[in-house]
């Protein structure tokens, strides 16, 4: 996670980054419950980067919750994981992941991947406004 943050930083991505240490925390943040109860529910991140192997609630379960909610249905979710397993790829895409990126071991390659990622999802990609979605 630190390495991912480092890679983002090295690529001069300055957007606000919220880090959830496990699936449960991610859910609380996105749906403004628990420790994030007072958060504005309409303030959604531009993109969610997630691993599949997460403590407590795992990635696919988290994805299912995100896609099940009206509000977060179109929220871009990028899977960023060590796994190259076919079953993970299929599982992710079936549940509505927008992208699947395998993390290379070589940090230089990883940095390169994160650079492309930031460029694409933060600058190029467009998502519908949440108000439009809800109305």
């Amino acid at each position: 996670m630190q390495l991912t943050l480092r890679a983002l930083k090295q690529n001069n991505i300055t957007n606000e980054i919220v880090v959830a240490k496990d699936g449960v925390e991610a859910l609380e943040y996105l749906f403004c419950t628990g420790t994030y109860a007072g958060r504005n529910p309409y303030a959604l991140p531009q993109v969610v980067l997630m691993d599949l192997k997460l403590p407590r609630v795992d990635g696919l379960e988290l994805l299912r919750h995100i896609r099940a909610d009206r509000r977060t249905k179109f929220l871009p979710v990028v899977i960023l994981t060590s796994s190259k397993e076919e079953q993970d790829l299929i599982g992710s895409y079936s549940l509505g992941a927008n992208s699947y990126i395998h993390k290379p071991v070589d940090f230089a390659q990883f940095c390169e991947a994160v650079r492309h990622l930031g460029l694409y999802w933060l600058l190029l990609n467009e998502v519908p406004q949440i108000e439009t979605v809800l109305s």
Binding site: K53, K84, E85, E86, V105, D106, F107
Partner: protein
């Protein structure tokens, strides 16, 4: 009669011997019986007695014959004396007679008529004694003539008429001589009751009856009437004219009455005969109709083997018109060898006089027929066998059916048997002996339950109980003892005929089938156990791979990432050696990541279900080479790819194969100035063999068998990078396609990798599991070890 005649002769002889006048001539005014006559009468009488007592004996016939010839000789000699007016001295030979004997031609000589009678009666008796068959009538004629002469003489004495006694001037016949002749003639007639005149008298036919009725009267009536007339005339009661008229009328009257009575009697008897004949005819007709309607062949043979009767069926058999067979023999109908057999059968009946039941086969126009024949004697009223009767019943179809059923029984490869409800086998087909080894006799000697496996006896008896109540038994299994002590499992289908107390059963030896079933069950159990183990192993591998994917790689990434962070952030605080160590840490982590990736690919190949498609290998090879060129654009490698290499196989897997083989070639030619890589195919024994050839580093053939093992490398990482999993992956993919892979090469002289693919089939996952499960398990474990270390 012969006896009384002989007695008369004997008495007369005695009269001469003792000079008794009564015995010589009855009365003094009657002529005497001459001594020669007495001897002749004695001999004739004796002869008749002998024949009467023992006509069938040879001795009797010969002695009677001699006596009669002697008598004839006496008669002939006396006759000769008259004819030749000579005296042979035979007249006075025995006794001397008074020279002036009355009514005698010469003293002691018998009358002429007497000598004639001796001659013909002697000849006649000789003929009877010698049984002359040619001239049966002659003795009758002689005897009748003599009897008439004797009657004449007797009447002469009765009517006291000399002229009658003295038929000629050559002496008269004595009274008792005439009586003796009459007795002899009657006796002689009686000797042959079935021949000549006597036969017609004693026959039961109407003629005989009439004769017996009328003849005595015809003799006695005229005599009586004549005597009455003569007496009446003598007494002077009436004159000659009246006497004649009276006698004629009375005679006519009496004889007419007798004849009328006789005729009436005959008519009555004829009516009865007609009635009997009619009923016999009707009976005969009825029997004939019955026999003709019968489907059995009925016939009768005489002693000479000629047909005397055939019924219609018999006629039809020989395609003969009714009655045409009569008089023919079996030899007219069959070839001699066949007829001999029937004849022999018939002779058994003739010889034994008892009925014979026998099976006969006959080759007739309708084909070969089998008959059940009853042959029996036909006897007359005396119990003498006069004919042979036979009734033959055509049992051909029965026999054919029987032999067919028998053949079926004998040839059946099922075990067939008939058993009784008492628990014994009655009949078994030969298959039993073949299956169990016990002979037929051994199997029928004991109750069948004793051959059943002790554990199966109870249920077997229960099935027998069912059969006893008429319930069929289907698909019942039990075990039967074999002679060698082993048991055979039999599958039974049985039905019973309760009314006969019999069980009819078929059985099949299913021992082998049972064994096979047991084997299959065991195999299936083994298989399912293996399959379960395999599934468990696969699950483990999957879980392992998944875990490797995530958990093993993440720390590596941390090692690499933080090493890089150190290098970047703390560059100025590290000396060159420290930086070099960190670079080595990164390099090792990356290598390990590569190892993990390759291992995961190898395990993934095992799990991927091959999906055969039409694949253009040439195109795939081109794409792989293009990839290589993109990755190392600075290298100049000459690549030759044969066009149009097309196969059926899984495109993803085949691409992995070519990536590895061409990738290796690319890698190992990296130190060659003029690198050359070739991909092509050649045809070996009809199957295409593909090859990838390079002129790179090559390898020592001594290690060729190690090439395809996982983690086996012939070069150090420093020389050529790599994990040693590529060729293991290739081998696995090729095997999953039913092909083979091998390599040729020499150090520094390049290498050639060959592989074949089964043209159309791809070995399914199951086959792969069976063939390589053990090996894969091991390699899987090795992979774990390698990953952990």
């Amino acid at each position: 009669m012969g006896g009384s005649a002989a007695l008369i002769g004997l008495l007369a002889y005695a009269g001469w011997a003792f000079d008794i006048v009564f015995l010589q001539g009855i009365r003094r005014d009657f002529v005497t019986m001459k001594p020669n006559t007495a001897v002749g009468i004695l001999m004739l009488g004796t002869s008749v007695v002998i024949l009467g007592l023992g006509q069938s004996r040879r001795f009797a016939r010969i002695s009677a014959s001699i006596l009669s010839l002697l008598t004839a000789a006496i008669g002939a000699l006396s006759l000769a004396e008259y004819i030749f007016a000579a005296d042979f001295g035979i007249d006075q030979l025995l006794f001397r007679e008074h020279p002036v004997a009355i009514e005698t031609w010469s003293p002691g000589r018998m009358a002429l008529i007497t000598s004639v009678c001796f001659l013909i009666v002697g000849v006649a008796l000789h003929m009877i004694a010698a049984e002359y068959r040619r001239i049966k009538r002659l003795p009758d004629f002689f005897l009748s003539a003599t009897a008439l002469i004797a009657l004449f003489v007797l009447l002469g004495y009765a009517f006291d008429e000399r002229a009658l006694r003295n038929l000629n001037m050559y002496g008269a016949m004595a009274l008792h001589t005439a009586a003796a002749f009459l007795l002899i003639c009657l006796g002689s007639f009686a000797l042959r009751p079935s021949e000549g005149i006597v036969a017609s008298v004693f026959t039961s036919a109407p003629g005989g009856m009439m004769l017996r009725w009328v003849l005595p009267a015809a003799v006695t009536v005229p005599i009586l009437v004549g005597w009455l007339r003569w007496t009446g005339e003598k007494q002077g009661l009436y004159g000659t004219g009246v006497g004649v008229a009276l006698s004629v009328v009375i005679t006519i009257l009496l004889l007419t009455i007798l004849v009328l009575l006789g005729a009436a009697k005959i008519n009555r008897s004829q009516d009865r005969i007609d009635l009997i004949e009619k009923s016999a005819r009707e009976n005969d007709e009825r029997l004939r109709t019955l026999l003709n309607a019968s489907r059995m062949s009925a016939y009768m043979f005489d002693r000479q083997g000629r047909f005397v009767f055939t019924n219609r069926h018999t006629d039809d058999l020989y395609q003969s018109v009714t009655g045409a067979l009569i008089g023919k023999t079996l030899y007219d109908l069959y070839p001699a060898p066949q007829a001999d057999i029937y004849h022999a059968n018939n002779e058994r009946v003739w010889n034994s006089g008892a009925m014979v039941e026998i099976e006969e086969t006959a080759q007739i126009s309708a084909g070969t027929k089998t008959y059940l024949s009853h042959k029996f004697p036909v006897c007359d009223e005396n119990g003498e066998m006069i004919a042979l009767g036979g009734i033959s019943y055509d049992i051909t179809e029965l026999k054919n059916a029987e032999s067919e059923i028998n053949r079926f029984f004998q040839l059946s490869i099922n075990l067939l048997c008939i058993a009784n409800l008492d628990g014994y086998f009655v009949k078994l087909n030969p298959m039993w002996e073949q299956t169990l080894g016990f002979s037929n006799d051994e199997l029928t000697a004991k109750p069948f339950i004793e051959f059943v496996h002790p554990e199966d006896r109870e249920k077997t008896l229960a099935e027998v109980q069912k059969l006893a109540s008429g319930v069929k038994v289907i698909s019942f299994e039990n075990r039967y003892l074999c002679k060698d002590g082993s048991y055979k499992t039999l599958l039974w289908n049985s039905a019973s005929a309760v009314e006969y107390g019999l069980i009819y059963a078929t059985a099949v030896d299913i021992t082998e089938r049972k064994q096979a079933e047991a084997d299959i069950l065991k195999l299936n159990a083994d298989l399912s156990r293996q399959s379960t183990a395999l599934q468990a192993a696969n699950k483990e591998i999957e879980a392992f791979s998944y875990s490797v994917s995530h958990d093993l790689r993440a720390p590596l990434r941390s090692i690499d990432g933080f090493s890089q962070a150190l290098l970047e952030d703390y560059r100025d605080r590290l000396d060159e050696t420290g930086r070099d160590y960190l670079r080595r840490v990164r390099s090792a982590a990356q290598r390990m990541a590569q190892l993990i990736d390759d291992m995961l690919q190898l395990s993934r190949i095992t799990r991927i279900e091959p999906n055969p498609e039409h694949v253009n290998l040439s195109a795939v090879a081109g794409a792989v080479i293009a990839d290589c060129r993109r990755k190392s654009p600075d290298r100049a490698v000459e690549v030759t790819i044969q066009d149009g290499l097309e196969v059926d196989g899984d495109p993803r897997l085949l691409r992995v194969v070519l990536e590895n083989l061409l990738g290796n070639a690319w890698k190992y030619t990296s130190k060659k100035a003029a690198a050359h890589i070739e991909f092509g195919s050649r045809t070996d024994a009809g199957d295409a063999t593909f090859f990838v050839r390079d002129n790179g580093a090559g390898f020592d053939m001594a290690y060729a068998d190690k090439l395809f093992g996982a983690f086996q490398r012939l070069h150090s990482v420093e020389e050529f990078e790599g994990t040693g999993i590529g060729l293991a992956t290739v081998k696995r993919i090729i095997h999953r396609h039913g092909g083979e892979v091998w390599a040729e090469g020499a150090v520094d002289a390049g290498a050639t990798f060959y592989f074949t693919l089964k043209p159309t089939t791809i070995v399914g996952e199951n086959d792969e599991r069976q063939d390589h499960s053990a090996g894969r398990g091991q390699s899987g474990r090795r992979a774990v070890d390698a990953a952990c270390s």
